[in-house]
Symmetry: C4
Subunit: 241 residues, 4 copies
């Protein structure tokens, strides 16, 4: 494929990712998914400010690593694009980022004593627990909770560290993947793990994945990411019941 | 726009609000949404007694501030219209009111020790907790729980005070907004906050929004209310999966 | 209307009731709804052994008060029809009966220390708590839990007493109404009350309806049963989103 | 019917079972259902590696009791087919097996102090509790949790013993039936029982089925398995609302 074909294929997938995340309840009118530019790793692709379910190819905008849209007179892009740019800056292993307010994950963002940890084999990427980003430590105690500049984005990326997911207190979470398929998979399975863990904790003492198991299941699942993607894409397109 | 155009546009939106609230599970065969008349602030618009999902333009009836339909021989309007009229009377900042029996909110109306408080950034309007209207204090201990006269409506409005939402014990809740878009947004996010808070409380000690955060997130969200509205309206119209 | 017209209208409603209860999740492949014969109060109408969602007019069979089908060579009717017949025998105020295995109600049938009580204004008919039918007391500790003869039906009806709903341990519940509309309404709101009460109890001390409130809200709601029915019927017919 | 007709009918049912399990939320892009070959009991039928919702007749592959596909150059079949083969080897009473990751069951797989037991009359097959397969005991503490060889399959089958369901820690469960209809019924009702038991345990002390009741209700339900199947098949085909 030519570079142009590669870029077009990436954009097509990014449009589908927007629709999948809406259809699976990970984003609603808000929330976003981005991917690193396939031929220019210092850039990333993100839909302009628009509800994910309405995104088309024409809505995808390039951004530089400082989260400036290219060209500068592009239509407005999300206030919180800095989440994405600052993660791409410090995590060369990351190829895509999802930011979500999914209701099942939110409880773990505000109940700091109970970590969101890998409890089932589809969520090994959570390891021994997602870190929590407490924005009060960086923006004071009267902020609007949004990560809307490079400084806050960098603080979030630092809290993420080498993890694959970071909870954002009272706000949501951000999750990454080596590829767009992996980030979407991880987003949907963060939500699943949260629901399972919440219910399991009501039943008594719980057995989480060991670090070795968490690593092993992630490796296994990452070999078949397209399998879930195909089902989700069909459902988002209204072709499944 | 002429006054008549403004009124027609308001009515169109009110019809859509009825359909959205049904489609999002906030009302079923019962429950209602009203808006202050756009050119006569001493009046409000409300559908006649009819299931919200069936409401059309022709079903919208003007009411005066005492909750009398105009004209007086209009078709019957809801028994509980006094909720709306008495709030409009004492809250000039309020442009729309939703009254709902949503099942996720009801538990907080009967469990007075646990306040429904702003826990996530889409529900800052709940502040440090919605007050609870205990109708026994006003109608005795054998009432049908309905707010069906001006006196009870005034008592409810007084309990609401300067809050944006009031829980009604064993019955439901009422929520307000500066605009129709804001009231619908607040209704749907009251339900969301209830589900998140209920789950979070099972996980241990919880961090709620500070007063400053609650105010800041509300201010931010109120700048993009149409973004959610457009998604909900499409879904109510059957155009989304 | 002629008697024949009255009977045909009753059968039409009974078919719709079957579809509503399936569509609202109260019955699945099992469960049933019956109504007292509109002109012969010592008989009742019930679909032959068939999944409720598939029931048509031709499937409705008359039964005498002993739960014999009329004519005797009618197609097979449900094993548990005795639930219905024995309730009609001792409760002249009852015009219709629903028997359901709805999953949200089942927990209250097995957790005898926590009564299913009227907690919200749409379920006043539950009063201060639905009695529990423990079939072990009548059929021993190795039964198949089914109420499949007149003796067990009579025992169930006795446990029901003057209540409107009876829980059946590990099995489901049966609920009655003066009319078919009321029984369907009560079935759906038994399920709703169970979900609300289950969640409310996790929040701390709870305020239930007083006996006076329970009576008053029932009286009020029974004046507008058709309002819910019309929405449910449209949804069952696939005409609502 | 000729043997060939019997086999074709079995394959048709197996295709429908795949679609039902997807439509009822028991499998998603992963999970599988198999049946013993109807004329060669030392073989079983299983779809090639493919999302269950996409399975057609052409995708069904024969396997010998060692879980080798026949012919050997058949398209790839699931890594975890050994779950099925090893159960068929030691359980001549088993005619079909479902393997699932259903989220409502997972909590019971990790909370070993709380057994998943028969609590309602549609899940008598769970008896006094499904055993839990702890793969750490057989594959060490850094495995990918998958049962992907004959040795692990045999260990799982041994943990299953004479039960009808076995939970797999952090992974899911496997459930069997004398027939395909029974295995599908048992899979869906394992999920239902888990949801009911989880909620019931929050209400206080709980009454489970006695061993005699569990046996009796299973015997009763196994006489009308097609009744549920027909509803599920219609829903999977998009013919029900």
């Amino acid at each position: 494929m030519s570079d142009q074909d590669v870029i077009q294929a990436a954009i097509d997938d990014l449009v589908i990712a927007n629709h999948i995340l809406f259809s699976e309840g990970i984003v609603d009118a808000f929330g976003h998914v981005t991917m690193r530019h396939p031929t220019r790793p210092d850039r990333y692709l993100m839909a302009r400010t628009l509800q994910p379910v309405f995104v088309t190819r024409a809505d995808i905008v390039e951004h530089d690593i400082d989260s400036n849209p290219i060209p500068r007179d592009a239509p407005p892009t999300p206030w919180e694009r800095f989440i994405h740019g600052e993660i791409y800056r410090v995590r060369p292993d990351v190829g895509a980022v999802v930011h979500s307010h999914a209701p099942a994950v939110l409880p773990f963002s505000v109940a700091g004593e109970t970590r969101l940890r890998a409890i089932c084999h589809t969520a090994g990427f959570l390891g021994d627990g997602a870190p929590i980003f407490e924005i009060r430590d960086f923006a004071g105690d009267s902020s609007n909770l949004l990560v809307q500049d490079n400084r806050l984005g960098a603080a979030l990326a630092k809290t993420l560290g080498s993890s694959m997911a970071v909870l954002m207190r009272g706000h949501g979470f951000s999750v990454v993947g080596a590829s767009l398929y992996e980030a979407v998979y991880n987003a949907i399975n963060t939500d699943l793990n949260a629901r399972v863990e919440m219910n399991a904790l009501t039943l008594g003492r719980v057995s989480f994945l060991t670090p070795g198991e968490a690593a092993a299941v992630s490796q296994t699942h990452n070999t078949s990411l397209k399998r879930s993607w195909e089902v989700w894409a069909k459902r988002a397109a209204g072709e499944l019941r």
